[in-house]
Amino acid sequence: MRIRPIARGDLDELQALARETGVGFTSLPDNRDFLAAKIDSAIAAFEERQPANRRNYFFVLEEEASGRLAGCCAIEGEVGHEVPFYHYRVGTLAHSSAQLDLHRTIDTLFLCSDHTGDAEVASLFLRPEYRGGDRRQQRNGALLSMMRWLFMAEFRDRFPDKVLAEMRGVFNERGRSPFWDCLGANFFPMDFDEADRLTGLGQKSFIGELMPKYPIYTPFLSEAARACIGRVHEQTRPALAMLKQQGLRWEGYIDIFDGGPTVEAYIDDVRAVRRSRRCRIEVASGGDEAAERPRWLAATTRMANFRAAWVGRGPDEEGGIRLTPAEAACLEVATGDLLRVLDTEE
């Protein structure tokens, strides 16, 4: 299994992926024209033909033998420039008066675009047959999630100070978002899926036009809706845990539709960014075999032909790294090339 930039020939497979993602996955709508444009834009980004605010680095996880796509993920260079990027910021207002013996704090939701200009890790999706069960040992999800930190570490100057990740919010057993039903539904003449679909297509201007501009006092929301604030979908918990482990934190920003949390960090503070190291490659066969559970994550250092994969061992004492011929072929590197390596169990 390896990561590579998306290519033109991936369109059919990408659309198949998009169909599998389902509700709440805004960035990958099942729309062929949209996906084709996304691929073109990504290719231009990897070829460094895009201005900073339009770089969308889109990666796929490929099963080399079959050429099948197992999943995808992306990094947005800078969000919010082309189309507005909205959040609610959960704030607190004190309602206090000593004379009235009143000391209350009221949570409020402020519509904001505070994250304009930040990078975003997004669109992570792993097909069900590549996760869980026998596949758990392959750590495909971790590969998709963490390779992005190596990419950002390697090409640090292409990214701004901060990075964020939007997490999918809570949906009830009937597939409805209590947060949307209580809040958004009052302001949007459409259901959640439709609003979500338009957002995914980048047609976000309606949000600004229809959303309440004044802060929302959360006591006016239903209990079910309040319970959604900053909470993630059951299936999103592992992804959130992985981001938290890297140092991303919830700072009180939530999705305006489903109330799911947005986690964030300064890129330089992200654990994997701080700890990954560049190593000189030596390709040699034989010796120790790779461990059962992948531990060492490796990424190449050229953007045009970027590759990332698990490798069997870490750097030696001199800062070199030995790859098997198969690993070198997978990453398309040779002896003497540089490799960025991260010990994911450190």
């Binding site: 009221i106 309606f206 036009e209």
Partner: protein, 361 residues
């Protein structure tokens, strides 16, 4: 006989009783002895002050039943609703949320805190002994204030406002408060109302949510209460609408009761009020005529009664010696009179026939 006059210190026990009897309890008339004493002092200062333009004066009147020898009703005019503190209301606003992309246009209703009514003169703190309800005493007490304002226009704003108690359910709970204010204060309506009487209402308003509230997020019961008067005040509201007041976008911040407003020049009592020289005639010799409010021309000695609007062929108002004495006027002095009946109100269901009934039991 009933007469409206400025409050005096001896009225304190009666005021206390009236404040306690008000339904619902009024924030601007708390049944609190110290506050009521202050109210009396403050009113005397207002009547005695030389005033060139409206300010922080509060003029408090009582309705005295001369047979009982006590005050059976009270009402106040605040020259400026918010002279020192701001006078807070919620203003109902409509925001248009339109999207060309989606080809939709939505109207979203909000309630925004407003100080706009602060400039108006406020008719407030009205309470009448329940035994006089449904009689002309009710109209006299409510509208005698207009007769006072008509005589001293420089003391009041050209815009008059009046806030009516809001809707309460059978349990005495305010659905609006329970859905709005309660979140911010954690106290029930009766508690906060009592507190507002002791502190000032604007004092509490400063702790109210400062951002506009979106109506779709309020409970349906709270929304239904917006601009709806307390059931006991329906008739009073109708009367003041017939007088020329208009419903406004403003509602009370606690219970969402309606605030009505009027340019005073448009009010029936202003437009129809006229000065007449007095001619004193024995009561039994007075011709039959429709009732009128009749007020004397005296600031501190203001008196207003209901009498027959009986004019002589030469335009003199014929008064009985008793009425003339109550008003403190002699033959030839001028009085201001305006018809008690209001056009359009008589036919209304529940409206009382204006007449000479003075609530004697």
């Amino acid at each position: 006989m009933l007469v409206v006059r400025p409050v005096v210190p001896a009225d304190l026990p009666a005021l206390e009783r009236l404040a306690g009897d008000a339904v619902p309890q009024l924030t601007n008339l708390p049944a609190h002895r110290d506050r009521l004493e202050e109210r009396i002092v403050r009113s005397r200062q207002a009547f005695e002050a030389e005033v060139a333009f409206p300010g922080d004066e509060h003029y408090t009147f009582v309705l005295e039943d001369l047979e009982r020898g006590e005050a059976v009703g009270t009402a106040t005019i605040r020259a400026q609703a918010g002279a020192v503190d701001a006078y807070y209301t919620y203003r109902q606003e409509t925001l248009i949320h339109a999207s060309q992309q989606l080809n939709v246009r939505r109207e979203v209703q909000t309630l925004a805190l407003s100080h706009e009514v602060s400039e108006a003169s406020l008719l407030c703190a009205y309470s009448l002994d329940p035994r006089y309800r449904g009689t002309s005493a009710e109209s006299l007490l409510r509208r005698a204030r207009l007769m006072f304002i008509a005589q001293y226009p420089e003391r009041f704003a050209s815009l008059l406002a009046m806030a009516f108690p809001g809707y309460l359910d059978e349990a005495g709970e305010s659905p609006f408060w329970n859905s709005v204010g309660c979140h911010f204060f954690g106290r029930d309506y009766q508690e906060i109302n009592a507190l507002a009487g002791i502190r000032s209402k604007s004092f509490i308003a400063e702790v109210m949510p400062q951002f506009p509230l979106y109506l779709p997020l309020l409970t349906p019961r709270a929304r239904a209460a917006i601009g709806r008067e307390h059931p006991d005040h329906e008739r009073a509201l109708s009367e003041m609408l017939a007088e020329g007041f208009m419903r406004s976008r403003h509602v009370d911040i606690f219970d969402a009761g309606p605030v009505i407003k009027a340019e005073r020049e448009r009010l029936q009592s202003f437009r129809r009020a006229a000065w007449h020289p007095v001619r004193i005639r024995p009561a039994q010799a007075l011709p039959d005529a429709a009732p009128a409010m009749v007020a004397n021309q005296s600031l501190g000695g203001f008196r207003c009664v209901v009498a027959r609007y009986a004019l002589s062929p030469t335009g003199q108002l014929m008064l009985s010696p008793e009425h003339a004495e109550r008003l403190g006027v002699g033959e030839g002095r001028a009085v201001l009179a305006a018809p008690l009946a209001l056009p359009g109100l008589e036919d209304e269901e529940g409206g009382h026939e204006p007449g000479y009934d003075e609530g004697e039991l």
